[in-house]
């Protein structure tokens, strides 16, 4: 799919779920280094479950997850973070009662990220000047868009090799949605690999190098993002037009 380039992340035959409930069935996806890979689909299609399973917050039932050629299917979450797999969770989940700066510094808690924390903090503040202005403020007192930037910034502090961005525009005002997408394109320009899950299917597929459409826990369709947007079936079934 991604040609001669080895994928950074490769998921094969993955199933998982919660308790007795199966959510993901035989999922195959890949993410090429330096690319944006989009997961789109309706609510309940399994996007967040897939993100959590890749991050290790939910165990995989069958199948395998390989990262940079290594099998990480059974690795604990903190080991995955230490290899550079960083989840920016749905709902942002900033530490509401801690300051912006404390949130960012906690992002660097993984062993791989403990060196040069101050420099990375400066980089993050340059990328998000708003966070710099508010570095002493409690994270919970900021707007949803600012909290999303903080959640992304906290993820960047972990020195990620792949960023799992789960529903980053959920509940945001249209102008903030635009900003989040601009941030995603900036991150790609800087060489980051991004796996993006979005209910905002059109926007996500338009910027994605490659896209997967999930339905009922299965991959229904996949292809280069802009090509998917142009397919009549996709337009009719998933983009509402």
């Amino acid at each position: 799919m991604s040609g001669p380039i080895e994928p950074l992340l490769a998921v094969k035959g993955l199933s998982s779920g919660y308790g007795p409930v199966t959510i993901l069935r035989e999922i195959d996806i890949e993410a090429a280094p330096g690319s944006v890979t989009a997961l789109v689909g309706a609510n309940g299609a399994g996007k967040t479950t897939l993100m959590k399973t890749i991050a290790g917050l939910i165990p995989a039932w069958t199948g395998e997850i390989r990262f940079d050629g290594q099998d990480i299917t059974r690795a604990a979450t903190h080991h995955r973070v230490d290899q550079g797999i960083v989840l920016v969770p749905e709902g942002r989940m900033v530490f509401a009662l801690l300051s912006v700066e404390q949130n960012l510094r906690l992002g660097a808690i993984a062993p791989r990220a403990r060196k040069n924390v101050s420099e990375r903090l400066e980089d993050t503040f340059r990328r998000f000047p708003r966070l710099h202005e508010r570095k002493g403020q409690l994270a919970g007192s900021m707007s949803g868009g600012e909290q999303q930037m903080l959640a992304i910034g906290r993820g960047l502090m972990a020195k990620p090799r792949i960023i799992l961005l789960d529903e980053p525009t959920l509940g945001l005002a249209p102008i903030m949605v635009k900003q989040v997408f601009a941030v995603i394109e900036d991150l790609r320009k800087d060489g980051y690999t991004i796996l993006l899950s979005e209910q905002n299917s059109r926007l996500a597929l338009e910027i994605a190098d490659y896209g997967y459409i999930l339905e009922n826990g299965r991959v229904q369709l996949s292809g280069p993002g802009p090509e998917l947007v142009d397919m009549p079936d996709v337009r009719r079934l998933y983009l509402g037009r």
Partner: protein, 302 residues
Amino acid sequence: MKTLSIDLVAGIVLLAAALVLPLTGMDYLVGIAFNLAMWVALTQSWSILSAMTGYVSLGHVVFCGIGAYMVALTTGSLPLAASLGFAGLAAGVSALVIGLPVLRVRGPYFVILTFGLAELVKNVIVQIETGLGQFSRLIFDAPPLNSLYLVMLGLAVAVTVAAVFVRHSKLGRGLIAIRENEEAAEAIGVPVIRLKLIAFVAAAIIPGIVGGVMLLRTSYFEAAQAFDPVISFSIVTMAIVGGSGSARGPILGAFAFVLLSELLWARFPQLYMIILGILLILFILFVPRGLSGLLDRKEARQ
């Protein structure tokens, strides 16, 4: 930094006074100071787990009881220091064993589970003792009050130093992340299960030894008394009154509690629990960050 140095000076003055106290020969005062050191040690150890991670334990007495029981079983056949070391070890190992299943539940379920577990262990040991035909065990040749006091003081200082250290360590930052949002903590790479278990075990060892020293002070072991849930309630009360935002909170809470107890016991023994209950409610409602939080605000204003 300034706050830290004021705290450091206050701590050294307090410690010097505490060390000189036995020289006065006033057993009544030494007895009060013994209680004070005991409550500081217990509340400070509780705060390492519960204030840092937000996993509020209502069964902290279980570790005291286990320590006391170990000393009751081994004293006479082991040197006293070994007996106390064994008490701490037994409490730590118990925490390791019960920690994994118990730390899987959060919030009110954790509170109820710790309370229930402490009661369970109490009743099992009551049954064992009854089965053995032992209703209470007398301890002979317990060391004099002054020696016990110095040991208790040492424990209080040790756990306070440990609490300050934890608060400023990577472990402490991980625990705070767990308290603020456990799932987010996991997502950013905090090894949550390991850290919670480390905090649980660390918080259990000192109360194990404290329980052993308490036993030597009362010089008899009776399971219902060694595992008295009122001890757990008192620890939580002191943590709330003192505030658990910093390591000085438990010290302030223990002082307020012990001094007040002395006054109330002497003057209004019947009203003791009522007044304590009212105080607890008032603090929760109006001073949620405790005495320590009040001091923080005063310092911030200056």
